[in-house]
């Protein structure tokens, strides 16, 4: 890749690298800010000018996972001494952890909401990508009557802003009892992502030469076996890219989750901002919740990064 460069080209190259660095920094700044705030003591979270150097602590995370109440007065010294280290952090912040009648720590709503997010996002991603791959294969390999119309119809489900259908969806869900259920959200997100997944996967499967399957058919495999043994491995890149996009969409979805769920099946996105309004807003706790919320997508994308990069340049080079 080391093509011959003139002096001016090399200079331009340096400028381009510098520009990319600056842009990267700008994009990373909010992520740094959320991460930093998640580890700040409460009193440093909203200072002006902002505090950059501080001693990180994990009290925001302790608060994130527990139910607390405001202290009217300082805790008794023996109570303070008997408390474990993490509970003392909360005492220091002028709050105390709520315990049940049997002395057990009461968890906050966050872990539950986080689990809901995982369940809904993973299930709907698996469903959308799986169904999308099958559908795309059908459209790609067989002569389907009215193919263009059907594909357009599938895509057209994406053309309305989701908020427009939110109220009718809510009413229909209430009738069939899907309000505030995991399946309700899973069905919704799957339907949402399916059109995207069909179109994306069709592009990837179109790129796989038909001859691969035909060779497998002649070699003694059924079409189904050829699909699983040849098409799926060849489409792995496309599947990974589609899965990441579907997962991010389902994971970040806010509007429907806010309207359709309130307790049992509520996901993290509507829950995190709801904490802003309860009592004094504790930005460190919100930042801690957001920080943890960012992790699954980051990890998922990181694991699939090679596939994603290949996916970006897929089909650009003719073999």
């Amino acid at each position: 890749m080391a093509a011959v460069q003139t002096r001016s080209e090399r200079a331009l190259n340096r400028i381009a690298i510098a520009a990319v660095l600056v842009i990267t920094l700008i994009f990373l700044a909010p992520i740094y800010w959320i991460t930093a705030t998640a580890f700040k003591p409460r009193n440093l979270a909203t200072t002006i000018p902002p505090t950059v150097l501080f001693e990180p602590e994990i009290s925001p995370f302790v608060k994130l996972f527990t139910k607390r109440s405001q202290l009217r007065e300082a805790p008794a010294p023996e109570e303070y001494a008997a408390a474990p280290w993490w509970e003392r952090m909360v005492f220091d912040g002028g709050e105390k952890i709520v315990r049940s009648g049997r002395g057990e720590v009461q968890p906050s709503g966050y872990p539950n909401r986080f689990m809901n997010s995982l369940i809904v996002a993973i299930t709907s991603t698996v469903l959308a990508v799986g169904m999308g791959t099958f559908t795309a294969y059908g459209f790609s390999r067989f002569r389907v009557k009215g193919e263009a119309d059907l594909l357009f119809f599938i895509l057209s489900t994406r053309m309305l802003p989701p908020v427009v259908v939110a109220i009718p969806m809510f009413l229909m869900y209430r009738v069939v009892g899907l309000n505030d259920t995991h399946w309700g959200l899973i069905i919704l997100y799957t339907a949402f992502n399916l059109s995207f997944s069909v179109w994306l996967m069709k592009g990837f499967i179109d790129e796989i030469p038909k001859e691969y399957e035909e060779a497998a058919l002649v070699d003694g495999y059924t079409r189904m076996q050829a699909f699983f043994k040849i098409v799926i491995p060849e489409a792995a890149t496309g599947i990974a890219a589609t899965a990441v996009f579907c997962f991010i969409t389902a994971w970040n979805e806010y509007a429907f989750a806010l309207i359709m769920t309130n307790r049992r099946a509520q996901t993290a996105p509507p829950f995190i901002p709801s904490q802003v309004g309860s009592g004094l807003p504790d930005w460190t706790v919100i930042a801690a919740g957001t920080f943890l919320f960012l992790l699954p997508v980051a990890i998922f994308t990181f694991l699939l990064r090679n596939h994603l990069l290949r996916g970006m340049s897929f089909g650009a080079i003719r073999k």
């Binding site: 030469p209 001859e211 035909e214 058919l217 002649v218 003694g220 495999y221 060849e234």
Partner: protein, 369 residues
Amino acid sequence: MTQIELRGIQKYFGAVQVIKDLNLAIADNEFIVLLGQSGCGKTTTLRAVAGLETIDEGDILIDGQPVQHIKASDRDIAMVFQSFSLYPHMTVYENIAFPLRATRMGRNDVDTSVREIAGVLRITGLLARKPSALSGGDMQRVAIGRALVRRPKAMLMDEPIGALDAKLREEMRAEIKRLHIKQGSTTIYVTHDQVEAMSLADRIVIMHEGILQQVGSPDEVYSHPANMFVAQFVGSPVMNMAQAIVSETGGHASVQVGGQAKGFEFPAALANRLSDARAENGKLTLGVRPEGVLISRQAREGFMPVEAHIIEPLGSHDIVDLKVGDQMIRARTKSGFVPGAGEAVWARIDPVQAHFFNTATGSSLGIRL
């Protein structure tokens, strides 16, 4: 032991008929080449035999059993594609083993078979590689290996070396021939390259616009083309074709070409043979291959003066374009035989190598002198 028979095959793509009443019997162990231009139906025929394409009418019989309703996977046939179609996510070893895995063969037997065929194809050293790390020739060796490893009833090849460069093509041609002699399996091979067809085939099947034109050994189709299409498709440079008028003068026949008053001399028997074949002047085409045009640098008995127009030196021989009236006739000479363009030479047509066709129908009159 595999015979393949095609009986009355008809195939339509929408309103277009791509195979028209095709009948063909292929003997066990025979190497058949389907030859024709692109779009002549040869690949569709091959795919129909493989089971990748349905037919609208007719029967495909393998060992006497009709198979047109049997799925490709159950026909026990192997196919090599032009694009090689090696599975990119598998190594060479896995690629060759792939058809065997469909048969639930034991692990050790698979290994033995793969290594054996790799030895035959001289690719044992490549077994651990991915297809992307192979050269074109090696890719095709692997594809052939994958087809042969299962010992299929028949082997189908769709322009298997068409994507390779000229030198490699020649090499692989020889290799395919060697393999066929060694392994011996009924083979149908599709190509548009007549040199490939001539060098490989036991019998060549020439197709044009979905219609079978001629079936015969390479020598038969070259020396006795059934019609003008076959005559011009097989052989390089192509056979000369010229409207001809035959008359009798002074004890021999004269064949006038290119509107010239003087004709090429032919034995007197030609006139009778032509009238036996009900040929009429004005509907008669003379065909002669370049090697059938004899050239002399001096005036000779029976030779006609012509002008050498263009000379193409090809090393082993020259191709000389002769101007005969308003017609160009190409002759094949020893290299350097005609010193330069514009030179006057004397030519005659070897009666033994002349072909006569009905201009209207294109079919050969079957006249051999």
